[in-house]
């Protein structure tokens, strides 16, 4: 799905206003009675992607999503889904596209209150002209998928908000279109239910692989479900990027200010904060080599990997020292298997406790158990503080004085006093 140079201007003389906007007139300088809701929006949504459009109310995001299925005709610009154009088509062709290629979930559910759940779910199929038995059978399947089995014959007013939105989602899924538009679909729900619905959407998306355009004003929601995010402000798209890009490289002050309040621990993953391990030991290395390397790098422990970088475990310097004293040729007997490596997709929030429990910087592995990086505690703290670079300036904590030195000094002082 692709949108190019979309403009939506409400009021008379729309096309003139578009010309003015293209020449760089500010949207506040347009004639009275003319409102530019969407200005020069271009983006492409890839197949099977969740594309989130994020902005505060009045930023034009609801207008934008309604232009994608022609509920609001574009003043200028074009929208195409696959080979079908949405802009510049006859009303009947547009209806045909809406029936078969693009469906929508609404903020306030927009269910038909006089119909039962199953008839609501089957609504899109009914419009497609499917026979009654077939559409009811299909609607029943989708109703079950969204977890509403047993509620088929109820009316929407008998359902809670979360369940009503499941009906809305089921109605859109039942129509079996490639593209799904979701207009603030979860915004009217309680936070707990919202979270549940987000999880369910992601779970469904795993199997369905729809192309989803999701509108929200909630940045945390955008970061959580979006593969890519477009940030809108005053009708313009100010940045498009992956959630981590937007968080770490905001395009301007506005986006930066916006992302300030985001819970970084939920968005950033182990992969995005990990560092290159200072030194690793191969399992075939001898104790002498291993010990001298640990001395050079001033490490008290190190991870042990195979030749293909698969993580095996870790060793402590004293254990290796023992092996050297005993004259062993291999370090294998000193390897401890409980390396506690975390997956590279783990969110920061889930790293804190493992990091606390690990004896050395937390190991990060990929999906084939290969060591790809480590996360020292200082790096984790610096990232949580919003300045990952600060880790480099971390002040080294001086080692405490050796006990015997202190004892001697205290003893001497005692004698002098006496």
């Amino acid at each position: 799905m692709r949108a190019e140079g979309l403009f939506k201007v409400f009021g008379r003389g729309g096309s003139q206003a578009v010309e003015q906007l293209r020449k760089g007139t500010a949207r506040t300088d347009l004639a009275d009675g003319i409102t530019a809701a969407v200005i020069d929006a271009s983006f492409e949504v890839k197949k099977g992607e969740i594309f989130v459009v994020m902005g505060l109310s009045g930023s034009g995001k609801s207008t934008l999503i309604r232009m994608l299925n022609g509920l609001h005709p574009a003043t200028a610009g074009s929208v195409t889904i696959g080979d079908d154009s949405i802009t510049d088509v006859s009303a009947s062709k547009l209806r045909d596209i809406r029936r078969h290629r693009i469906s929508m979930v609404f903020q306030h559910f927009a269910l038909l209150p006089h119909r039962t759940v199953i008839d609501n779910v089957a609504y899109g199929l009914e419009i497609q002209g499917m026979g009654k038995d077939e559409r009811i059978a299909r609607a029943r399947k989708v109703t079950e998928i969204v977890g509403l089995a047993g509620w088929e014959e109820k009316h929407p007013s008998e359902l809670s908000g979360g369940m009503q939105q499941r009906v809305g989602l089921a109605r859109a899924l039942a129509a079996d279109t490639d593209v799904l538009l979701m207009d603030e679909a979860f915004s009217a729900l309680d936070p707990l239910i919202r979270r549940e619905m987000q999880d369910q959407l992601l779970e469904l998306q795993e199997t369905l692989g729809k192309t989803i355009v999701f509108i929200t004003h909630d940045l945390n929601e955008a970061m959580y479900i979006g593969d890519r995010i477009a940030v809108m402000r005053d009708g313009r798209i100010v940045q498009i990027g992956a959630p981590e890009d937007i968080l770490t490289n905001p395009a301007n002050d506005y986006v930066e200010q916006f992302v300030q309040d985001v819970d970084r621990t939920k968005v950033l993953t182990a992969e995005s904060v990990m560092r290159k391990p200072r030194a690793v030991i191969h399992e075939n290395d001898g104790p002498t080599g291993a010990l001298s390397m640990m001395r050079d790098e001033q490490l008290s422990a190190a991870y042990v990997i195979k030749r293909d970088r698969t993580i095996v475990g870790w060793v402590r310097d004293r254990d290796v020292l023992d092996l050297v004293r005993k004259g062993e040729k291999s370090i294998r007997s000193a390897i401890q298997a409980d390396h506690g490596a975390v997956d590279k997709d783990t969110s920061l929030a889930d790293l804190l406790i493992p990091s606390l429990e690990a004896a050395l910087p937390l190991a990060v592995k990929d999906d084939r158990d290969r060591l790809v990086g480590v996360i020292p505690r200082v790096t984790l703290l610096a990232t949580l503080g919003g300045e990952p670079e600060a880790a480099a300036q971390a002040t080294h904590r001086p080692d405490p004085l050796p006990t015997e030195v202190v004892d001697r000094a205290l003893d001497n002082a005692g004698k002098e006093n006496a």
């Binding site: 509920l71 306030h108 269910l111 038909l112 609504y123 419009i127």
Partner: protein, 319 residues
């Protein structure tokens, strides 16, 4: 200096012209109204009064329940006991015909106005005009065009009573949740389908309120129509005024009140889920739901059983 605009002359000339050029049309309309009135009147006037009362009471029971049925029976017996039954039946027939025509005209107009702002802008002042012009004033041209009898009564009533039907239909359709209409559009429904399946069903309470208003206004106008020889209760009221007959005036007037209350309660109960009919309907719905649910459960059980059999087969297979 005196300014006198000959507006009256112009309007009189206009109606004279209408009468001359379209007398055939109005005569046909007159015949149609008289025929409709006679048909409805025949239905109520032919059976004996007690049979009609029994039928109405049964409907009352179905529509609202026993309390309404009892008061309807008492009210109708009161009308019979003051010897106004025939008049009441005539008035009722007039109300039914006029209100039916008003509904048939005003609801489509209301729908059209809801979908087209220009139509709405044109209709609004016309409706204001129709509603505020004193009711008696309609009677004069109606008499000129339709001659004395029930026909001018029906046309005056219909014009007078139409406005709330148009207004409440338009309001009802315009206030249907915009998002639900958008949902219809987003799934590719045609405008006609959106109207049929979404807008009209959701605007129904408002449309029913409009129909109720039409019937009540019709009744009030029907009494006035008695002045032009439409007969019925209005005829006796008019007679009581001219003869200063207090007794007759009250007998006919109270009969109007009874008729009005019964009609109002009847129309207000439509679609409200009251009375025996509603309980029959909900019982039927509950039975159907239970049957459907039982069907799924049976299917689901059969499915699980089949799955278990397959699983059991798979477990046994290696041996």
């Amino acid at each position: 200096m005196e300014i006198r605009m000959p507006l009256g002359d112009w309007i009189a000339a206009f109606f004279d012209w209408v009468e001359e050029t379209m007398s055939g049309f109005f005569e046909a309309l007159r015949q149609l109204f008289i025929w409709m009135f006679d048909a409805v009147d025949w239905i109520f006037a032919t059976p004996p009064w007690w049979a009609v009362i029994v039928a109405v009471v049964i409907f009352a029971l179905l529509a609202r329940g026993w309390r309404f049925a009892v008061s309807t029976a008492l009210g109708l017996l009161f009308i019979v006991s003051v010897d106004q039954w025939e008049n009441a039946v005539d008035s009722l027939a007039l109300v039914i015909v006029a209100a039916f025509l008003a509904v048939v005209i005003s609801i489509p107009l209301g729908i059209w106005a809801a979908r087209n702002s220009t139509v709405s802008k044109i209709l609004k002042p016309i409706m204001d005009f129709l509603q505020t012009l004193p009711a008696f004033v309609y009677l004069v041209p109606a008499l000129a065009l339709f001659r004395i009898g029930v026909a001018p009564g029906i046309i005056a009533t219909l014009i007078f009573a139409m406005a709330p039907g148009v207004r409440l239909t338009e309001l009802g359709i315009r206030s249907v949740d915009k998002e639900v209409v958008e949902a219809g559009e987003a799934f590719g429904a045609t405008p006609g389908r959106i109207l049929r399946q979404i807008q009209i069903p959701l605007a129904m309470p408002s449309i029913m309120a409009g129909i109720n208003q039409i019937i009540m206004l019709s009744l009030s106008m029907v009494v006035i129509a008695g002045l032009v020889g439409a007969g019925g209760l209005g005829g006796d009221v008019a007679q009581a005024i001219s003869a200063l007959n207090v007794g007759l005036g009250f007998e006919a007037g109270l009969s109007v009140v009874v008729l009005a209350i019964i009609l109002d309660r009847f129309t207000a109960s439509f679609g409200q889920g009251m009375g025996l009919y509603a309980s029959f309907a909900s019982a039927r719905k509950a039975r159907r739901e239970a049957a459907e649910q039982a069907k799924f459960d049976a299917e689901a059980a059969a499915q699980t059983e089949a799955d278990q059999l397959i699983a059991a087969g798979a477990r046994r297979a290696p041996r």
